[in-house]
C-alpha cells in the first residue's frame, strides 16, 4: 500500500523529468497505430463489403416463387431495415409491329437498396446514376430490347394490357446477372403499374423477392427471426454469395488489413519490449539507492510496477487521442471511398488497442521488473554490481504469452497467424545466431582499419549480446516492412491482372454459325479486332455411370441444381489460357477418339464426379456419352467466356451450335454494338463495362486502404529502430564524451558510430531480405492465393534500406549523445 501511494506520488516527477518519454511514446505509438488500424479495418472492411453487396442490390435477398408473406415485411420493419420488393417474369413485349421476349422486372420505391441503377437518354449514350425508380406509367428498357423492338426513348411499348412510355435506356442495374442464364433483356417498371398489365395471374411464373438492408447486426437479427419459417422454395442470398471478383478482392483486402494489424502489433511489441527493458534498467541505480535507504524488495517492485502501469495508461490515453485524430484525417482523405452512411466507429478498437498495449507492456517488462527486484543495494558503492540476468525461459515465456494472448483476440485467420508467428520466430532465431556470428567475425577483422572504423566495429563486437539483440530488432522491423511492401505489391499486381486493360467488356451471345462472318465484318469496318467465336451447345445431363441423375444424391445443393438444368457445353482443341488442368490430362490438339469431357473442379466436386466416369447428355433429342478426362481450375476473374464442361474436338459435330464472343470495345467504338444489335436482332449484346467499373471501384478502395494502413506499420517499424538505438544511449553518451576528452574529433566519433550502425544494418538487412522472401512466398501463395515472383528489388531494398534506415535512425537518436559537452557528461557520471 505504502509502495502504491509512493508510486502515485512520484509519478508526476517521473513524467516531468522526461526520463520516461521513450516508453511513453512507444506505448502511445502502439495504441495510436492499433487504434487507427482498428478503425480503418472496421470502416474500410465495411465499405468494401457493402460495395460487394451492391451485386445483390441489398444486404440480404429472399427470393420466392410465391407472393411474399406479410410477416417478412413486418419483421424487417420491426428491425428498422430498409426494404424493397421486386417481381419478375418473362413476357413478350410489343412496340408497333415488333415484339420481343423480355424479362419484366417490377420494383418498388427504394430499389436498389445497395448500388445504383444507371440509365442513358439514348442507346449507347452517356449514362448517369438514377436516384429513383421508373415513374408511374413509364419503363426503363434494356438497350438490346430497344434494338430488337426498333424503339427509341419516348416511344411507347405494350406490356400486357398496359401501354408504357420508354423513359430511359437501362444500362446497368446492380443485380443484373452476368451469366448466360437470363438471355432475355430487361424492362424495368414501377411495381404500382404491374396490376394494370394483368400479367400476374394464378399460375404465372413470377419470381418474388424481398430486399433488405441496414445495420449488419439488424440484418442478422432479422434473418434469425424469419429463418425458421422459410419454405424450401425460398432462396436466400447474402454478401457471401456475391460476385466472385468482388468477393475475392474484398476477402483479400480484409486478410491484408488483418495481416497489417498483426504486424503493427508485433512491431509495437518489439518497441515496447525494448523501452520497458530500458525503463527497468535505468531504474537499477535508483532501486539500489532506495534499497540502501531501507526500501524492501516488495516495495521496489510494487512501486515500479504501479509506475509502469500508470505510464502505460498515460500512453494509452495519448495514443487513443492520436488514433482518433488519425482516423478523422484518414476518413476525410478517403471521404469519396468510405460511404458516409457507415455507422461511426465504436470504442472497441480503442479498448482492444489499450488492452493489447498494457498486456504487452506487462508481459515484456515482467522479466526486467523481476531483475529489478534483485538489484543489489551494493550497486551504490560498486556500479558494476549487477543482479543475475532473468532466465531466458522466463523472458521468452512471458513475451510469447503476451503476444499470443493479443494475437488470439486480434485475428481470426488461424493459418495466417501461424505463418506470421512461425516466420517471425524463425527469423528471430536466425537473426540472433547470425548476429552473434557477425559479432565474433567483426571482433577479429578490425585490425587493419582506421580509428573510426575500428571504434565502430569494436563497439559492435564488444556489445556482443546487445549487438545481436539489436540485429534481431532491426532485422525484425525490416523483415515486416519488406514483407508488407512485397505482399502488398503482389496483392496489387494480382488485382491489376483482374483489371487488365484489355479485359473484354462486352459479350455477344446466341450468334448463329452463319452470322459469324457478317459480325466479324462489322467489327472490321469499325476497326475493332476480330473476336474469337466460341461454340456453345445446350444439353441436359441424364446419367452418371448409367445411374439416372434424378436418383443420385449429390454432395451439394449446387450439384443437384446443376444436374437438373440445361448445361452450356463447348468444345476446344487447345486449353484456354485462363484454365489450368488440376488432375487428369488435356487431350492432344488432333484428338479424334471417343468423346471426352473436362470439368471445372468445383463443379466436379459439387456433382461428385470422378475421373474416368461416363456422363450421358441429351442434346436436341440425341444422346451422347462422354468420359471424364480431366478437371480444370478456371480463372473466372478473367471475364473471358468459360464453361463448366469442355468437350473434346468433334464430340459435338452435327449438333446445332450457337457461338459466344467476348471483346474489348472502347467507348468511341460502341456504335458497332448498336449496329450488331440492329442487324442481328437475335444476337444478345451484354455490356460488362458497368460491372467492370464496379469491380474496379472495389479494388481501388481496397488498394487505398492497404496503402493507408501501411503507413502506420511503417511508423511502428521506425519506432522499433529508435527504441533499439535509445537502449544504448547512456553508454554512447559516456563513450563519446570520453573519446572527445581524449582528443578524438567529433566527426571521427560520429563516423565510428555510423560504421557501427551500418554494420548492424547490413546484417539485419541481409537477413531481413532472406526472411521476407520466404514469408512473402508463403503468404502470397498460401493465404492470398496469388502467384509469387522472386524479386531482386527486395534484396537491394533490404540491404540498402537496412543500412540507410539503421544509420539514419541511429544518427538521429545518437546525435544528442555525441554532441553533449564532454565535461557535463563526465561530471554527471
Amino acid at each position: 500500500m505504502k509502495a502504491i501511494v509512493y508510486a502515485i506520488r512520484t509519478i508526476g516527477r517521473e513524467l516531468r523529468s522526461g526520463e520516461v518519454l521513450v516508453l511513453l511514446s512507444a506505448v502511445a505509438l502502439a495504441v495510436a497505430a492499433l487504434t487507427a488500424v482498428g478503425f480503418l479495418t472496421d470502416r474500410i472492411g465495411k465499405a468494401v463489403a457493402r460495395q460487394a453487396n451492391e451485386v445483390l442490390a441489398a444486404d440480404l435477398r429472399l427470393r420466392s416463387p410465391e407472393p411474399l408473406p406479410a410477416e417478412w415485411l413486418e419483421a424487417a420493419e420491426r428491425f428498422e431495415l430498409e426494404t424493397a420488393e421486386t417481381q419478375n417474369f418473362p413476357s413478350v413485349v410489343f412496340a408497333g409491329d415488333e415484339s420481343s421476349l423480355a424479362n419484366v422486372k417490377a420494383v418498388s420505391a427504394g430499389y436498389p437498396l445497395r448500388g445504383k441503377v444507371r440509365t442513358a437518354n439514348r442507346l449507347f449514350g452517356d449514362q448517369q446514376e438514377a436516384n429513383d425508380i421508373p415513374p408511374a406509367g413509364s419503363v426503363w428498357a434494356d438497350g438490346a430490347l430497344m434494338a430488337r423492338l426498333n424503339a427509341s426513348v419516348g416511344d411507347t411499348i405494350s406490356v400486357g394490357e398496359s401501354d408504357l412510355r420508354i423513359d430511359a435506356v437501362l444500362t446497368y442495374r446492380p443485380d443484373q446477372s452476368i451469366g448466360f442464364a437470363s438471355l432475355a433483356p430487361t424492362v424495368l417498371l414501377n411495381l404500382n403499374d404491374l396490376p394494370a398489365t394483368n400479367l400476374v395471374k394464378e399460375g404465372s411464373r413470377v419470381g418474388y423477392a424481398l430486399l433488405v438492408a441496414g445495420r449488419e447486426s439488424d440484418v442478422d437479427d432479422f434473418y434469425a427471426d424469419v429463418e425458421d419459417d422459410l419454405p424450401e422454395s425460398v432462396r436466400v442470398r447474402n454478401r457471401e454469395d456475391s460476385s466472385e471478383s468482388a468477393a475475392n478482392a474484398s476477402a483479400r483486402a480484409q486478410k491484408f488489413l488483418s495481416l497489417t494489424a498483426v504486424i503493427s502489433l508485433l512491431l509495437s511489441a518489439v518497441a515496447i519490449a525494448m523501452s520497458a527493458r530500458r525503463f527497468a534498467h535505468r531504474r537499477m541505480d535508483t532501486v539500489a539507492l532506495m534499497k540502501s535507504l531501507g526500501a524492501s524488495q516488495q516495495f521496489v517492485i510494487t512501486a515500479a510496477t504501479v509506475q509502469l502501469l500508470l505510464l502505460g495508461i498515460v500512453g494509452v490515453c495519448v495514443g487513443s487521442l492520436i488514433g482518433f485524430a488519425a482516423e478523422k484525417i484518414l476518413t476525410s482523405m478517403l471521404a469519396d471511398l468510405i460511404a458516409n452512411d457507415l455507422p461511426p466507429p465504436g470504442l472497441q478498437p480503442v479498448f482492444l488497442a489499450a488492452g493489447s498495449a498494457l498486456i504487452l507492456l506487462i508481459g515484456f517488462a515482467m522479466p526486467s521488473l523481476i531483475q529489478l527486484r534483485n538489484a543489489p543495494p551494493l550497486r551504490v558503492l560498486r556500479h558494476d554490481e549487477m543482479p543475475p540476468a532473468p532466465s531466458r525461459l522466463l523472458v521468452a515465456g512471458t513475451s510469447l504469452l503476451a503476444v499470443a494472448a493479443m494475437l488470439y483476440s486480434a485475428i481470426g485467420d488461424a493459418r495466417l497467424l501461424l505463418y506470421v508467428l512461425g516466420g517471425m520466430l524463425g527469423v528471430s532465431i536466425v537473426l540472433y545466431a547470425t548476429g552473434r556470428l557477425l559479432v565474433a567475425l567483426l571482433g577479429r577483422s578490425r585490425g587493419g582499419v582506421g580509428i573510426a572504423w575500428r571504434y565502430g566495429l569494436a563497439n559492435v563486437a564488444r556489445r556482443g549480446r546487445a549487438s545481436a539483440v539489436q540485429v534481431v530488432a532491426f532485422g525484425l522491423g525490416l523483415t515486416v516492412l519488406l514483407l508488407l511492401t512485397f505482399v502488398r505489391t503482389d496483392l496489387l499486381k494480382g488485382w491489376q491482372q483482374t483489371l487488365d486493360e484489355n479485359a473484354p467488356n462486352s459479350f455477344l451471345i446466341n450468334i448463329q454459325a452463319h452470322e459469324r462472318d457478317p459480325i466479324a465484318e462489322i467489327f472490321a469496318r469499325n476497326e475493332i479486332g476480330a473476336p474469337d467465336f466460341v461454340p456453345m451447345v445446350r444439353g441436359r445431363m441424364t446419367t452418371i455411370d448409367g445411374d439416372d441423375v434424378k436418383d443420385i444424391e449429390f454432395p451439394t445443393e449446387d450439384g443437384k441444381w446443376m444436374a437438373n438444368r440445361e448445361a452450356n457445353l463447348t468444345w476446344a482443341a487447345k486449353l484456354s489460357e485462363t484454365n489450368d488442368i488440376v488432375s487428369g490430362d488435356w487431350w492432344p490438339e488432333d484428338y479424334q477418339g471417343d468423346p471426352l469431357v473436362s470439368i471445372e473442379e468445383e463443379a466436379a466436386a459439387d456433382l461428385g464426379v470422378e475421373l474416368g466416369q461416363k456422363l450421358t447428355f441429351t442434346i436436341a433429342g440425341q444422346e451422347i456419352q462422354l468420359t471424364v478426362a480431366s478437371f480444370r481450375e478456371v480463372n473466372w476473374d478473367s471475364f473471358k467466356p468459360n464453361f463448366f464442361m469442355v468437350l473434346s474436338p468433334g464430340a459435338l459435330d452435327g449438333f446445332p451450335a450457337t457461338f459466344v464472343a467476348s471483346l474489348k470495345v472502347q467507348a468511341e467504338e460502341r456504335g458497332a454494338l448498336l449496329e450488331i444489335a440492329r442487324a442481328h436482332p437475335s444476337v444478345s449484346v451484354i455490356d460488362l463495362e458497368s460491372i467492370l467499373q464496379q469491380v474496379k471501384g472495389i479494388i481501388e478502395k481496397a488498394t487505398l486502404a492497404v496503402q493507408a494502413v501501411f503507413i502506420f506499420t511503417l511508423a511502428a517499424g521506425i519506432a522499433v529502430l529508435f527504441a533499439a538505438v535509445q537502449s544504448t544511449i547512456d553508454e554512447r553518451r559516456f563513450e563519446s564524451a570520453m573519446l572527445r576528452a581524449l582528443g578524438v574529433q567529433r566527426g571521427t566519433v560520429l563516423f565510428g558510430v555510423l560504421t557501427e550502425f551500418a554494420a548492424l544494418g547490413l546484417v539485419a538487412g541481409f537477413l531481413a531480405a532472406a526472411g521476407a522472401s520466404i514469408l512473402a512466398w508463403l503468404i502470397s501463395t498460401r493465404v492470398f492465393e496469388l502467384e509469387y515472383s522472386f524479386s531482386p528489388l527486395l534484396w537491394s531494398l533490404g540491404l540498402g534500406g537496412g543500412i540507410l534506415l539503421v544509420c539514419l535512425s541511429g544518427y538521429v537518436a545518437a546525435r544528442g549523445a555525441i554532441n553533449a559537452p564532454p565535461a557535463d557528461v563526465l561530471r554527471a557520471a
Binding site: 512520484t10 534499497k291 551494493l378
Partner: protein, 225 residues
C-alpha cells in the same frame, strides 16, 4: 552500537579466489566518529558495505544497533537501514529525475514519515540550499549535490551515518566546507559516524582511526586532541 566479529570476505575472480577482508574485528560506540583509512584496494569500501548490510561477509558476523545483520535476509537488513542508517556517497547518488527537495524527501517517504515535505525543507535550509530545492541534480554543482546528499542522510535522524569518501569528487575547498557541515550536523544529532577516506587530515578530525592494509585491520587508534 556497531560491531564486527572475525569478518572475512572472499570473492571468486577469473584468477581464482580473492580475499578482500580477513578476520576483521572491532566495536564502535554510540556517538563515536570513526575513520576507516587505507590505500586503494585495502578493502575500505567493502568493509563499509558489510557494516551497512549492503552485502554479506563470507564468514563472521556484524551487529548494528542491536540487530545481527548477518542473520537477516535482504528485506530485514533494509528495515534496519530504514530505521537506523544514513549514507553519504563519493558520487552523491542523487535520483536524477527528482529535484533536490524530493531527493531529501525520499527516505522520509520510504519510512512513511509524516510531514515529509516540511522536514525535508527544514533540513535543506540547514545545509544552506533553501533557494535551490526545486533544482534537479543536473542543475547543481558538485558541492551542492553533496550538500543535498548530506541533507538526505540526516533527514531520517539515523543512529549511524556511513560516509564513503564524501569529498572524493570535490575540490579541496568545497571538500573542506562539506566536511565541516557533516561534522556539525553529526555533533547536533549525536549520530555515530563511520567515514571511509584516504585523506589523513580528514581522518584526523574523527575520534578514532581504523587502518586497513590488504584486507587486514593493522591499527585501531584513538585520536589525541
Amino acid at each position: 552500537m556497531l560491531a564486527a566479529n572475525n569478518v572475512s570476505k572472499q570473492v571468486i575472480s577469473p584468477e581464482g579466489g580473492l580475499t578482500i577482508l580477513s578476520e576483521v574485528s572491532f566495536e564502535i560506540d554510540y556517538g563515536e566518529s570513526v575513520a576507516i583509512v587505507g590505500a586503494s584496494g585495502a578493502g575500505k569500501s567493502t568493509l563499509l558495505a558489510l557494516l551497512a548490510g549492503l552485502d554479506l561477509p563470507t564468514s563472521g558476523s556484524i551487529q548494528l544497533d542491536g540487530n545481527v545483520l548477518t542473520d537477516l535476509d535482504e528485506d530485514g537488513r533494509a528495515r534496519v537501514r530504514a530505521a537506523s542508517v544514513g549514507f553519504v556517497f563519493q558520487s552523491f547518488h542523487l535520483v536524477p529525475s527528482l529535484n533536490a527537495l524530493e531527493n531529501v524527501m525520499l527516505p522520509l517517504e520510504l519510512g512513511a514519515a509524516e510531514n515529509a515535505r516540511k522536514k525535508a525543507a527544514d533540513i535543506i535550509s540547514q545545509v544552506g540550499l533553501s533557494e535551490r530545492g526545486r533544482h534537479y541534480p543536473a542543475q547543481l554543482s558538485g558541492g551542492e549535490k553533496q550538500r543535498v546528499a548530506i541533507a538526505r542522510a540526516f533527514a531520517t535522524e539515523p543512529a549511524v551515518l556511513f560516509a564513503d569518501e564524501p569529498t572524493g569528487n570535490l575540490d579541496s575547498k568545497t571538500g573542506e566546507n562539506i566536511m565541516q557541515l557533516m561534522f556539525d550536523l553529526n555533533r547536533n544529532s549525536s549520530a555515530t559516524l563511520v567515514l571511509v577516506t584516504h585523506d589523513q587530515s580528514l581522518a584526523g578530525r574523527c575520534d578514532r582511526i581504523l587502518s586497513l592494509d590488504a584486507g587486514a585491520l593493522v591499527s585501531d587508534e584513538k585520536v589525541r586532541r
